[in-house]
Symmetry: C2
Subunit: 349 residues, 2 copies
DNA sequence: CTGAAAGCGCTTACAG
DNA sequence: CTGAAAGCGCTTACAG
């Protein structure tokens, strides 16, 4: 029992050191301690040093909530996301979290599974916690979350989600990414470049198609047929591969796929048809979903949407808005990056 | 400019309603307003109702940081995770976040990429923000994060990560999950059940192997050779499949794979060898990583680690610890669930 | 240069 | 039943 009492006491004393303790230890007032620690106001460097030493000695860490109360700024953000599967959100969240923690701001994760009730609950929690701003992250550039932001009295940015006309949004440049991929294929000498992609109901689909067409146009090549739209699945890639290369008619010598799963399925179909990748057909994907792209045989050249960058940029812009800096409303389309692997030849690693 | 002034003013007035505003509106003191809103103390129901009405009218939301200051409790948790890829962490985080938000607690996401410096930074941020507790989430049950928790003056739980002997940890029951899978195969009449799995350096590997052996023992079956350890990759599954079924020697009639990627590769090898799944060989995976398991042909029976449950249970236990309830130290192995699909036959969906 | 006072928004004994 | 006062931990004018 003696032990218990002692450790309780110790917790009491050393557990939560306040600025009062520091002031006491340094023999100054709380006000002076505060100023010394925050490098404001003038004072003897001797006093300042004495306070610093006391703070270090006691392991003082200022209570962020108390500061927030006086500064009317919590250095805290809310991330509301509908993507529980996490394929898109996690890189966004990681990029955001890393960039923010470097600036002393922390981010609350709110997983709302497309559930309006949960969304409302979390939004209220964020308001109660007085976050300085909100980032709304989805998994499609053309869908809003089931969230009523109208009442939100704080800056908001959208990432990989639909964004109101007067809002600030960040999405990957799908058209540009597709252009990169297809230009690369053309540069490698491919002439009959097909496009196999997801459902047209996704806004990304016509955008990637447009990039495909523009790259072909600039290379002086005709599109190889129409874009073949289906599902975002390996199965659709596989079946389309069979159709595309099973027929005796003219075959593509390259396929730009709307995502990595389709590319993966298509490669499987090519293997079954005895066609070599990249010798006979070059294949490029979209997403750079590592475990798909790396596991493909051969490893897949694909477009990376740079989701971490998206998260970071969104966060930095949100910080600007919070600081009252002027920020243009509108959608930012951030550049994608082509990751060259072996599936398109050209001496790739 | 008039507009600007007006809206500024409005922001000032309506933007941040405080309990003072509510009290004023209701014609009572701040203390009474507080008690009315928190259902404490006795007072005329008329007064209470008046305060409530005022609060509703003004859209009052109490400032959680101010309350935290007086209650010495922030209703806030920190989630420190090293798994930026997110395959394991995101379900854990989603389960945690959902369970916590139902109880009014919010969770800070801290992505530390196995970077000790970033880890320290985030840990300090969590201390400064006075979170009530910490959940440490990794991607392997046998690895700690590069984190010095010794100085952390708050309750901590570990999820899918190594846990100090006196700590509280949550991991999936790998042995039990393997047992489920292999028992299922045995019940289906399979007699020669092999095990192809990842590197022995992962603690999960011997555990899953033990489950395989126990299930075989209970079914009165001998193990089919030794467990074949390699990598967690499709390629290893593919190559091992070729070796296992290429030889003319006795072949397994079922394979329990250490993860879904291995299973996927193995199924590909079987297809190439002209062997049918599940007719000739039943295959079971581990992870229930939807996009691998569903895309397999046929869809893969596999073990789900119930990571969301893990996140929820860890959070609830952490809440208990925060509330000072007695919590046994030690590792909890939470049950896995067998997800039956077509790859093992037996009339599965 | 240093400190007393007021205040950020809320709650909780304690008087009245 | 209701309110004045003190306090949670910090900061910021403002005096001295």
């Amino acid at each position: 029992m003696r032990d218990d009492a002692t450790s309780d006491l110790r917790n009491e004393v050393v557990g939560r050191v306040t600025i009062r303790d520091v002031a006491l230890e340094a023999g100054v007032s709380v006000a002076t301690a505060s100023k010394a620690l925050n490098e404001r106001g003038r004072m003897t460097s001797e006093t300042r040093e004495r306070v610093r030493t006391a703070a270090r000695l006691l392991g003082f860490r200022p209570n962020a909530m108390a500061r927030a109360l006086v500064h009317q700024r919590s250095f805290t953000l809310g991330l509301l996301t509908s993507d529980t599967y996490g394929r898109f959100t996690l890189p966004v969240a990681a990029g955001l979290s890393a960039a923010m923690s470097d600036r002393g701001v922390s981010v609350f994760l709110c997983a709302i599974d497309d559930d309006p009730e949960r969304a409302r609950l979390n939004l209220e929690a964020m308001e109660d916690k007085r976050v300085d701003g909100l980032v709304i992250a989805g998994k499609r550039i053309d869908r809003t979350l089931p969230l009523n932001l109208a009442s939100a009295r704080m800056p908001v940015v959208h990432v990989v989600a639909a964004c109101p006309p007067d809002g600030v949004g960040f999405v990957p440049d799908d058209e540009g990414g597709a252009f990169l991929a297809v230009s690369h294929l053309a540069r490698l000498g491919r002439r009959r470049i097909a496009h196999v992609t997801g459902p047209r109901s996704f806004a990304a689909v016509p955008l990637r198609e447009a990039g495909w067409r523009r790259a072909l146009g600039e290379a002086g090549l005709p599109p190889f047929g129409e874009a073949l739209c289906g599902e975002w699945s390996e199965r659709f890639g596989y079946e389309t591969g069979q159709r595309l290369f099973g027929a005796a008619a003219e075959r593509p010598d390259a396929v730009f796929c709307g995502n990595d799963q389709i590319a993966r399925g298509l490669i499987d179909a090519l293997a079954q048809s005895g066609l070599g990748v990249p010798e006979d057909v070059a294949v490029v994907g979209f997403d750079n979903w590592e475990l798909f792209a790396q596991a493909a045989r051969p490893p897949l050249t694909t477009v990376d949407m740079e989701l971490k960058d998206l998260g970071r940029e969104a966060g930095l812009t949100l910080l600007d808005m919070i600081d009252g800096k002027p920020v243009e409303p509108g959608l930012r389309r951030l550049p994608c990056r082509l990751v060259v692997r072996r599936s398109c030849g050209g001496g790739a690693p």
